[in-house]
């Protein structure tokens, strides 16, 4: 016979509605990174090119041309198979403006790799087949425990592997075309703290993990204007990495467990299209210069959204503005053949950041950057050679993030030595 129907709606007791506001922020920033390239792109797909600032669209040299320009692969006289890896040592320091408090990353070594094989067709000389397996996006960034931006991100691991079977056809002495189909698999693991404390004084934690897949193409045209001048144009399409059934796990105080049900989520991450125009200038037998301009369709990364299957008042679907902008990168490299055994390389790249002011996150402490590269090849044997490369870059970016209000300067240093082993036939 209570006179009230809704006894608790004006109570001081906590109900779901009142809890709502605490957590709205907690999952709103998201995937995407690396500390060593524009956005979360990784330009380590060929050791010779890496020595030359990753230019090489118009300078086919080995099987990595499968990636750099499928249209140029058919111009290579030899088939080859190669394996390459580039250990990446990167660290980022964040200095918060107001407190002077610093936070560092202790990310594990990045391990971008590539495997290429290129075969010439025995009957049709103008035709080559190739396959490339490479990792053009992703890495792991991990911040030290208790860092000031812990509620934005504590760890992000993003990995993608592209598999690209390719056909290249030489139309005539000057012109080649080629295309590859790209199938991409990947995984992502995103972790951050939730600003809720349990009885032991420990913050709560969220971990989102998922595998993803997507498809795309990599197509190119190669035009060899003369013995000393060539051009290349490639189009690598956008690949949308879809997450259909990710796993969301929450470590929260018992009283809040119903608000944060472990469960499934879906999301997607665009890996942007890249259009590249390149030129190569072979001044003589020994000296080659290569220049590439990349146009990267980062505006595809407009929003990062997470849809949770089990929504609660505390765990709503989130949409975070990323508002990336399309950007260019300019790459210039030179190669000098010292002897039959040794070639050396140098390169310089300028990459524009896709991340606008107000949108820099701990996942992508990104800025316009200059990369310095060098490399060499040892032609040890008729069938066997080795490439080495080295990249260094230093990035500084100050930002006041509009979503989290995290304000301060990110300073990143990256050293990436790489190597390739190649068998030619």
């Amino acid at each position: 016979m209570s006179i009230f129907r809704c006894a608790s709606c004006y109570s001081t007791d906590m109900n779901a509605t009142q809890l709502k506001k605490i957590f709205l922020m907690f999952l709103t920033s998201g995937i995407c990174t690396t500390s060593f390239s524009q956005g979360y792109q990784v330009n380590f797909q060929g050791q010779k090119q890496q020595g030359m600032a990753s230019a090489g669209t118009a300078l086919p040299q080995d099987a990595s041309t499968v990636f750099f320009n499928p249209g140029a692969a058919s111009f290579l006289e030899k088939g080859s198979i190669e394996i390459a890896m580039t250990p990446v040592f990167g660290n980022t320091l964040f200095e918060e403006d107001s407190t002077g408090v610093t936070g560092r990353t202790n990310s594990p070594m990045g391990k971008p790799f590539s495997v290429y094989a290129l075969l010439r067709n025995k009957k049709v000389e103008a035709l080559s087949y190739g396959i490339g397996i490479y990792t053009p996006f992703g890495s792991t960034i991990q911040y030290e425990d208790g860092w000031v931006g812990r509620f934005a991100l504590t760890r992000l691991e993003l990995m993608s592997i592209f598999v690209q079977p390719t056909i290249s056809y030489q139309l005539n002495d000057k012109l080649g075309i080629g295309a590859g189909f790209v199938y991409c698999i990947g995984k992502v693991n995103l972790q951050k703290d939730i600003p809720v404390i349990d009885q032991n004084g420990e913050y709560s934690h969220a971990e989102l993990s998922a595998s993803a897949s997507g498809m795309g193409v990599n197509a190119g045209v190669y035009f060899k204007a003369s013995e000393i001048l060539s051009f290349g144009l490639t189009y690598r399409s956008k690949v949308t990495m879809g997450v259909a059934d990710g796993t969301a796990e929450f470590t929260v105080p018992e009283a809040l467990a119903p608000n944060f049900p472990n469960g499934s989520f879906s999301s997607e991450l665009p890996l942007p299209q890249v259009i590249t125009l390149g030129a190569a200038f072979m001044t003589n037998e020994n000296l080659s210069i290569a220049a590439d301009i990349n146009y990267i369709g980062w505006s595809a990364y407009d929003t990062l959204a997470f849809d949770y299957v089990n929504n609660t008042e505390s765990l709503e679907d989130t949409r975070s503005a990323r508002n990336y902008e399309n950007t260019f990168a300019f790459r210039l490299g030179g190669q000098y053949k010292v002897s039959d055994l040794l070639s050396v390389r140098l390169g310089l790249a300028y990459g524009m950041t896709p991340v606008q002011n107000g949108y820099v996150t701990p996942e992508t402490p990104d800025a316009d950057r200059i990369s310095y590269t060098g490399g060499l090849s040892l032609n040890l044997h008729e069938h066997f050679d080795i490439d080495l490369s080295l990249l260094y870059t230093h990035v500084e970016r100050w930002d006041h993030n509009l979503e989290t209000n995290l304000t301060g300067k990110y300073t990143t240093n990256v050293v990436a030595p790489g190597f390739a082993l190649r068998y030619k036939f």
Binding site: S2, I3, F4, R5, C6, A7, S8, C9, Y10, S11, T12, D13, M14, N15, Q18, L19, K20, K21, I22, F23, L24, M25, F26, S29, E96, S98, T99, G100, V101, V148, G149, R150, F151, A152, K192, P195, V196, I197, D198, Q199, G201, V252, P253, E254, A255, L256, E403, T404, N405, L406
Partner: protein
Amino acid sequence: MAAYVAIGGSSTGGYMHDALTYEGQQNSLAAILGSQFEMVGGSPMVHPSVASSSIGWSLTGASVLELGFKTDCNGTTSLSPVRTGPTGDATVLNNIYSSTNRNFGIPFLSSLKLNDASYGDPMNGTHNPFFARMASSSSSSILTDLSATNMTFCSIQVGVDEVLEYARKGASAGSLAPVNGSAGSGFTGSIQELMDLVESKGAKAVVATIPDVMTMPYFTTIPYDGLDLDAESAESLNQIYNPIGINFVVGKNAFMIEDPNAGVFGVRQMVPGELLLLNVPLDSVKCYKMGSVFPLRDEFILTLDEQQEIRTAVEGYNESLVNMANSKGFAVVREDYFYKSFSAGMVYNGVSLNAQFVSGGAYSLDGLRLNPRGNALLANEYIRAINQKYNARIPYADPIKYKGIVFP
């Protein structure tokens, strides 16, 4: 900053979750400011510390609040502030005077009592037990003890506690100090005397204004129209109240309150803008028809007139505080602006904070005082004011390092 002395009320002293505890003291406004000053060469702060194991003592002798589970009169169990023990720890009130104490944060401080020599005398009916525990003797006033300190810098946060003390009881008991009047009888004169003392010690100071306390969750959590009725309940209330022209409908209705000026029967419904306070006994409301058949008493309500009275007084206090601080060349921290922006909600390093009860993340469980994280945010406003006024470079505190609400 070599010798920082803090003068103020609950925030300065670390009274939070409706009790004075060691943890609260360690996370007081004065403690947080003290540790930031230490970074630029200040000497470590000394507090009149409660034993670290103590469960605290509230004004009414209760233990500190924590978030736990409570079962209401309907048998519904939910997350709610609960006391950590059946009674508080009375040893908190033991006098622990030390001449080295530099935190004169006195919960429930009243400006009119700054120079009252009986304010720390437990035998006196109007004494403040939280001053008595730190007073040098039972016949010393706050100003006497302050003048014995070696201050070079001082934070002054006087006024908010007395406004809260009046407001939290629905403006039903006591009165607000007149804005004008001499020391001991008016706010301005009392503060003037305090600032004169600080100036005479050759110290610099930061002076805080008083926030609009009515934005605090204690006043905003329960809606005035939270009386949710089904058809049967509405009908039975209408039988009672229709004769005096009050009608109830199915769904939300304004609560019934006592008001001597409301017609012959002295009862009426609440109107929009009126505040129903957190001191209302909720089980009585839920199960025993308080606020409907039995109208709510004045002590649970701030009417529009009462709110206006408080706001007018605070405006007067603030004008005086700012004028006096300016004439002394002291820094001014606009706590009123801070609380106002805060009530609209803010995001600090990915943490969403606002003035909502419990979930807002910065208020303590009494809904009136800030928790450690809230104090750190407030401390940063002080630092901003000090840095600007004195061209100093004191680093800001990291509010994320300080606890919000602990969940079971």
